[in-house]
Structure formats: structure tokens, C-alpha cells
Point group: D2
């Protein structure tokens, strides 16, 4: 055997171990998925050290209903990412949680019973109607009216996210921090959720109001074609992941990519596709640093972010 191999040692765990030390040991010797999580921390740290790397963050809506929203907010608050691509429901949950509360529940609760009580279940999170559809209509329509009256009648999803974000004062909100830190939020499926339905409702009374999805594409084009390097932290699949890698193919692929997922590769889905598949498409560079880490992002993301925070992002002005 002539290969040069790196030996496995054992993780030494103790009662005060911090997250950063644990992921460092996982990189050194965790094996299986732990090793991949260690590699992910390492790649994100390198991404952060790059002077001129545009970092995308993508995630679906569901995670914003959980406390893990705070971990994503930290990335935005500390300007650790540059561009966000997400789904309509992210706007729903971030706004709803600014105005009302979500609650602990259980995956196995009786859904018919919850329905009769006016409570929506999202995994093990409970969302009463008054914390969601009702409050979103109540609060969003006046804001849309204000935006409309200011002369903005046709807006991209990015502009809509910004207009809402800048009107918020809640420092728990991702929209608030994105607006404050000038981090654009793109929502390629803007009609698919409560926020989209409120836009549609508003349009019933204001026929010259509309969404311009092409303007988002123009902005994304400007971002990818001026970027020196690009990288992405992608949580989950679907349209938010795809839109990140789709646009990056037009610049020859990303230099860095970390994908946290629970999806199966074998069904051929975009969500299940490991990052290496994106290499064949030129969405990620052949020589990029990338890793796919399997597991629920509510566990792996806090470990990842906790591990890289201390290094900061010197490259960011």
C-alpha cells in the first residue's frame, strides 16, 4: 500500500467542550457525516477569509418558524453573507414572528383537532391563525398601501423585501437586518405563500400594482457577472438552492459551496443532488471546495455557525 493515508484518532469529549473544538475534532477524526460537518466548517472559514468573494445564503421557509431563525439572523446581522435567495414563506414567517408568536408542538398532534382550534402545524411548531394569515393581512395591507402611495407600484421581490425590512424595528427579524445591512433578499417564487397572496389581494384594488420578477433576474445577473469569486451556504433544496446554483453557472461556477440537506440523492431530484452533480453543469467549479452534509439544518447549522463566528469575515468592508 503506497497511498499516503491520514489516520483516524478518537474524539476526546469533555463537559465544557465548545462547539468550535468539537467540529475541529470532527474534521480530524469524526468519520461519516461528522467528518463532512468538520469539512463544511473549514470551507466556510476559508470563504470568509477571501477578500473578494460574494457569498450567497439560501434556505427554505420552514426553518424560519423555528429558533434556528436566530442563527440565520446572526449571519445577516454580522454581514457574513452578501446575497440571500429564499422562498415566499420565509417572508411570511419572519414577518409573522415580528408581530405575533409561534409555539412548541409535536409532529404527532391530531391535525383535524388543531384545524378545529384554528392552529396550523408546521412540523413540531404550532402557528395559530391569529399569528399568521390574520395578522399578515392586517399588517401587510397598510404597508403595501404606503409603498404604493410613495410611487412604487411595480416592484421586484428584492425591493419588496427591502421595503418591508426597512419599516421594521424588531432586531430579531432577518428582514430588518437585511435591509439595514443592505443585503438583498431574492424570492424567485414570490407568489407562493401568504406574502404573495397579500400582494395579489392588494392588486385587486390597485390594478396598476405588480411584481416584476424580471428585475430580480437583472439584479442577480449584475451580481454574478461582477463577482470576483462566489460561494454559497445552502440549507435545503428546492427553488432557493436551485436559483443560487443556476445563476452561478453563468459565471463558470462557484469557488465554494456548502450544502446542508436531508434529501435523498437516488430520486434524481435537484434537492437530493449532491454538490458534485452541479460540477457537471458548471454551476460549481471543477476545482471548487465543496461539501454536502446530510442532516437536519436545525442541528448542523448552529454547529457550523458557532464554529466559524470567531474567525469573522475580514474580507467584508
Amino acid at each position: 500500500m503506497q497511498m499516503k493515508l491520514k489516520p483516524i484518532t478518537d474524539i476526546e469529549i469533555d463537559a465544557d467542550m465548545n462547539v468550535k473544538d468539537l467540529t475541529a475534532q470532527m474534521l480530524a477524526s469524526g468519520g461519516f457525516t461528522a467528518k463532512k460537518l468538520g469539512v463544511a466548517c473549514d470551507i466556510v472559514r476559508k470563504m470568509f477569509q477571501e477578500k473578494e468573494c460574494t457569498i450567497f445564503l439560501s434556505f427554505p421557509a420552514c426553518i424560519i418558524s423555528t429558533g434556528t431563525r436566530g442563527v440565520i439572523r446572526k449571519l445577516v446581522e454580522d454581514k457574513l453573507v452578501d446575497v440571500i435567495i429564499t422562498t415566499c414563506g420565509m417572508l411570511d414567517h419572519d414577518l409573522a414572528r415580528v408581530w405575533r408568536k409561534y409555539y412548541h408542538g409535536d409532529f404527532l398532534m391530531d391535525d383535524a383537532d388543531l384545524h378545529r382550534k384554528g392552529i396550523n402545524r408546521l412540523g413540531n411548531i404550532l402557528i395559530p391563525n391569529e399569528s399568521y394569515g390574520i395578522v399578515l393581512e392586517q399588517k401587510m395591507q397598510p404597508i403595501l398601501d404606503e409603498i404604493y402611495k410613495s410611487g412604487k407600484k411595480i416592484l421586484s421581490s428584492r425591493e419588496l423585501a427591502y421595503e418591508f425590512g426597512k419599516r421594521l424595528t424588531d432586531r430579531k427579524s432577518i428582514l430588518y437586518w437585511a435591509a439595514k445591512n443592505d443585503i438583498p433578499i431574492f424570492v424567485p417564487g414570490i407568489t407562493d405563500g401568504a406574502f404573495g397572496s397579500q400582494l395579489w389581494l392588494f392588486k385587486q384594488q390597485h390594478s396598476d400594482f405588480n411584481v416584476d420578477v424580471m428585475k430580480d433576474e437583472q439584479d442577480l445577473s449584475d451580481i454574478v457577472f461582477t463577482a470576483k469569486k462566489t460561494g454559497a451556504i445552502m440549507l435545503g433544496g428546492g427553488i432557493s438552492k436551485h436559483h443560487v446554483i443556476w445563476w452561478n453557472q453563468f459565471r463558470g461556477g462557484m469557488e465554494y459551496a456548502v450544502y446542508l440537506t436531508t434529501a435523498e440523492e437516488w430520486d434524481g431530484s435537484l434537492s437530493g443532488a449532491r454538490i458534485r452533480e452541479a460540477v457537471s453543469w458548471g454551476k460549481v467549479k471543477e476545482n471548487a471546495q465543496y461539501i454536502t452534509v446530510e442532516g437536519d439544518a436545525t442541528i448542523t447549522l448552529p454547529m457550523l455557525v458557532g464554529s466559524v463566528l470567531s474567525s469573522g469575515r475580514p474580507g467584508r468592508h
Copy 2:
């Protein structure tokens, strides 16, 4: 034990067994996921027998790159569904396969090597650049020009799908049959793929050209508010599944729902959510007939469709 219980018997399999007989036995005694597939066949058969039930079909793009596209086409060709909601990539693959060929590959091929050869990998399907981006640009731009010159400068995704479909002659194409049979195709994330990028490219030279995503929502509103009953066959999660259940909540939920998925429930995702979660939201009725069947739709869909074809859809004019 006072419960009335139905006993399990054993499946009797033989060399000439047809798909319908097998799924009937699965319903009677398959157990585990086979039982659920049997239930799904039963629910779809009942849906088809309804005189006035609007049936939604949703699916992601990936499956259109495979031969399973033929099974979906059959549903459209035979008018077994009424409304389609899908992703941008569905348009890409259906059109690309009208004009060029896709090929057999393997999940484990070397992606860097494929990239150098100009071949994109989609699971175990190979898509040469000349069968995809190149041909889509070549063929789509003249069609867009024709549509534009006919005076249609601002179109919904449904209108775009129809305009393309009616210009095709390939009887393998889903777009062709949807246009011919007047089955609307909605694409709520219309910018997220090659079709969307071609729209954006076209707009560079035709600034008054645009997509009107609000018009799709108006059409969907009309459909759900006039429907007597609704049902859905949903393949995979993401935006296409969500848009079906999202709109159906506004009419108090669907009467029938079948969901074929590989996604995990425990990550709290919309894709992983079993249909029963939608009951709490009023997206599916409390007394609806519904089932979630785990497994790759390339296997379960042909079995489902093969099992229900013979019963036809007498309720459909």
C-alpha cells in the same frame, strides 16, 4: 380485544400478473408502503369517478428528464387531470426532449470529466449541452419573437406554456398535449431555469416584454373558487406541491390528495410534510381521502397510473 380488525393475507404473485392486480393485492395485504400504494390507487380511482372534481397534478422538473415523462404525458393526453402546477425546469426538459435527446448515465460518473465533455448530469440521466442550453436558446428565441410580434408582450406562465405547447407537433410532449387538451400549466417559479433565462434574455432586446405572475394567481383563484370538489396527485415537494395545497386552502381544502415523496418528515420541511399536516391548515379537508406514499415516483407513479387507467374518468366531459 373488541376492535374489528381486517386480517392480513399473503400476496399471490405469478408470472403474468398485471400492475392493476398487484396493486389490488397490495391494498388488500401488502403492508408497510405497499399498502399505502394500494390505498393511493383506490383514492385516485374514486377521484376519477367524481362528476365534478377538479384534479390538480404537480411535479418537479427532474422526472421529465426520464422515461417517466411518458407516464405523466398519459395523464394529460387522456385528460385525466385538469390543472398542472410545476417548476420552470419542467418546461426546459419537455422542450429540450422535443428537440434533442437525453441519455442513460449513472449517479457515480465523474462530474468534472463530464463537465469537460460538455455533458450535464441529472441523477443517472445525461444531458449534453447541445441537447439543453444551446438548443433551448436556438429554438426558443424565434418562438418568443413570434409570440411577441403577435402582440402578446406580457404573459403569465400559463399563457407562455400554452403558446409553446400549441406550436409543438411532438406527441411525446406534455406541453403539446396540455395545449391541445386545454389543460393549464402554471409555473409559479417561472424565472428559475433555462426557460426563465431565455425570457430574461429576450427581454434584453424587448424591454416591454414581461411575465405577469399575478395573472397566474388570478387564474388559480378562479379555478379553486369555482371548483365543486378538488383533488390532487402530487409528485415530490417544493414549490409545485406547495402551490397546489396553498391555493386549495382558500376553498376550505381538497377532498382528495395523493402525495408520492422521498422526503423526510422530521426536518419540518414542506416537502417532507405528510398530507395530514395540510389538514391543520385547511389545505386538505378533515374528512378528505388522502395518503402519502414514500418512494421514488419513477417506480410508484407508473404503478399508480397503470392501475387506474382502466377505470377511466367518466366524470370528465
Copy 3:
């Protein structure tokens, strides 16, 4: 592009399609997992055509509680396999179902309530205590006594399975057909279940009674070292799969292997390991024909068996 590629065509489905035709189309064009299922049918058909190939079948206990037991029984009844390796629970369920009935249930039933009713839940199968523990004790102890009194006081798992099988008359039973057709059943974890507990109970009163697990190993050694070629159909992972591939490594690996599984590769488990991992260990030959098919065996196994039955097994005397 100089690679010689095979194009994807579309599956043509019809109302009378039989299982064999469907899997043939899946092989030709199914894509994703359907393609793999098509390949699996093809490999098993080749395995069956081999004149001198010893075919192993492995499976865990759970599937024997379902109607899919009938599909496995067919393989044994028709002498399509030569050696079975399974778990203790397989003996439990096959015997319990000879003497009593199992029932339809649901994954989401209230387990505390079932417990109070004396019903055990196995996925969506219900097993009343009187169909399981109670009847197994009642019926097994006299049979063990009979075996013991015949002078057989120390038996291997294979011998035990045979002794029970030859005393049965129920043509639904796998043990019955295995004994009748002289197909050995090995249970490397013989103590882990109700059958094992009954052995232990019997030993309380008959201290010279025992199980000889080494004798099973000797028999397996004889089988693999005299086999000209070997192949395996493996349903699910765990000890039954491992014991098949473990022993086959001693003869330099199997020539054919089909693995039906739901397990994840990324957790590094034996169950999740794809067959190709076994190539590195010499458990499967480098040039073997093998495939791993993801999905629940209650769906994929009936399709596989339905597809290969017609070709029979000419190589089997």
C-alpha cells in the same frame, strides 16, 4: 462528445400492462430508481440462468408480518433460491401466522392505547398478544419437547428451522417450503426474538438442551467453499445482509448481487452501504453484476419477483 450514449425514451403505459413489461420499460428508460429496478430484474434473470450458481436470499423479520411474505414464499416454493439467512423474528412471524392472524393497522395509531388492548404494532400491522407471544409459547414448547425427546438436544439454527418447518402443513409458510425443498435457513442472531426466548425458556427445564451457533458457521463454510458461483438477493440490511456478504468474502466474492434497501449511505452503516462498498472488501467480485435499489421492498420485491418468474431457473435441478 465521443462517448457512445444510449438515449432515453418514454415509458408507454397502458391499462393492462403486466409487471414484467413495466420493469422492462424501466430498464430501457425509467431513469433514477426505476432504472435500477429494471437492472435488478435483469441481474436476477441472469443469476437464474446460471447452471451452477448458489443463490442466497436474506431478509429481516418485519416483512414477514406483511402480505409480502407470500412473495418470498414463492421464491422458496419454486426453488428459486438455495440458502436463506434471516433474523430470529422471521421465525416468530412465520410461525405465528401459521397458527394465528395478523391485522391491518396504521403507523399513527395510539401505541399506549394499543398496549392497553394487548395489541402490538409493527409499522402498519397489528399483532394481538394472542397471535404472538402467547401462541408461540403454547405451540413451540411441545414441539421443542418432541425434538428434544427424539435425541436432538444441541441444534444449530438451521436444524431448528428445519425441525419446525417439517412439522408444519401450512402451504403459506416459508418454513414449511424451506424444509420441504431442503433450502437451509440460517439465523445468526437466533436468540434475538420470541423463538430465541422460547429456546431459553425450554432450557430452564432441560439444562442439556442448547443451540450450537458454530455448527451454522461450519455449514455456511461448506456452502461457500463448494459453490461454483454465488449470488444474492438481499432485502434490507442488518445481520442477515451482513452474514451473506461476510461469508462470501471467503470465496473471493459473489458474482451477482441485488440489494433492496431504504437505508442511508451517509451514516456509514452496513445497512446503508451500497453493494459497491462490498467490492473493496472482496465480498462481491470486482467484475460482478450488482445493483442497489432504493425503496421499500414491499413495493420493489413483488415487482422484481413478478418480472423474473416467467424465466424460471433452468439451472436448478
Copy 4:
């Protein structure tokens, strides 16, 4: 809405966060799987505080090939568990790593190439033949000879594990610490792996040598019938998990149970079964504290153990 609900707050993450603080926040607000991991930490902490609770630990072999072995060893070294049930491969890897090294690899390495180099792949761990089969034969046969010559010719798996453990001096070894701390290790599938094959090899020359699997069952019977309370930490499914819950049903079920798994519930397997299924069987008490946490144990176990170490186990002498 009259239900009393606990609101979701956001996780506040910082650069020095330790594992214990993070899991405490996950319990308070993580949502989805993170919440479950938080609950698992809480349950294990309560289990440790019990004065008279017999704690079982079960795990499969694969994880012992990784650095996570160190985390399991810590549980044994610090006497935090009382009984271990595992698979044969656990003995293989613990012993092999006492005598030789394992190495870092990748899930996607070329297995035929590795085979030609004499390297076995276990997920992303590499095991050269000289670190495994070769050294196990070399080192185990003399030890077996020593045991045999001491007059111990028929041993249970527990006795074998102890005899090997007490002959080791490597403080990284789980067998070493289990022997030193008098924590029994049971291996119900003792023949299924390299250790088992070495026993079989030894028996070729020593026909009166044998394994007594019934003796293990007697010992387990003594343990469960004398235990005041019982609890379990179970990593992964298969025979090791089943044997823990199987025996605990005879005392009316466990009081505490934590299960870390990647397996799917929908295939009806024992591995996929959530703990609540065990309630119907009386393997876990109706009023027990239990949780199933989805994800790879190489990530979740270090977080769990890191979180509970500080509380220690006052109830343990």
C-alpha cells in the same frame, strides 16, 4: 384557543458557545430535530440522576471505526452506562484499532481500485487488510489459546468480551474500559464478523471449544429482572437495538429511552420504528420518557454526551 402553549424564541449563538448551552437552547427553541436533540439531552440527564436505574447502551459496529468511538468510550470509562449490547463488528473494530490504524477516506472512492490495493472501505473510513483480518487472526488466536488453556472452553459473548478486554492495556479501547469497570458487553450475533470467524477458526483445532449464547440470555434475564428501573441510549437499529428493547419487555418496559437513528419509519423495519412503537409491545413503559432523534450519531452523539457529562451520574456507586 384555550391551549396553554410555550412560545418559540430564537437561538442566540456566539463564538464561544459550548455544546451544553447550545443543546439547552435547542430544547428551548430549536424546533424540528434540534428540539428532539434537546429533549434527548434532558432525558439522559434525568436517567443519570436516578439512583437505581440500569442503563443500557447499544450501537452497531460501524461507528467504532470512526473517532466517535472516543465518545462511546467516555460513557464506559466514566461508568455512565451499565450494560452494553452490540454487534460482532464492534469487537472487530475496537480490537483492530488497538493493534493497528484506520484511515480517512471518502464515500466515493473507487472500490475495485481499493480492493486491488488491499484496502477495505467502510463509508469514508479506510481499513487496510493488515489493520483488520490479518492482524485479528495474528493477535486473536494466541489469546483464544490462552483463554482455552485456562480451562474456559465454552464461553458466552459477554465472557469473551471480558476475557479480551482484561488482556488489553490501551486506554482508547472500549473493551479495556468495559472489563476494567465491570460493564458487561453482550453480542447476540457473535458469529457475524471477524471475531466470530476467529472463534470458528479456533474451533477447527479445538473441537470442545464453543460459544454459549444461552448463557448471555440468562445473564440478561438476571439483569432485567433485578433492575429497579431501566433506561437505554440506543445508537442505530438492528440486532443491538432490538435485543435491548426485547429483554426490557419482560420487566414491563423501560422508564427512559433515547434512540438516535437515520432509519425510515415507513418501511416497517425494527430499525426505522420510532420508540413509541415499542410502547405498544410493552418494551417501553406507557409513561416512560423517550425520544427518537433523527440524524447521524457521529454528529448527535457527541452533542448529547458533551451536554450531559457535567451532570455526572450521582446514582452510580
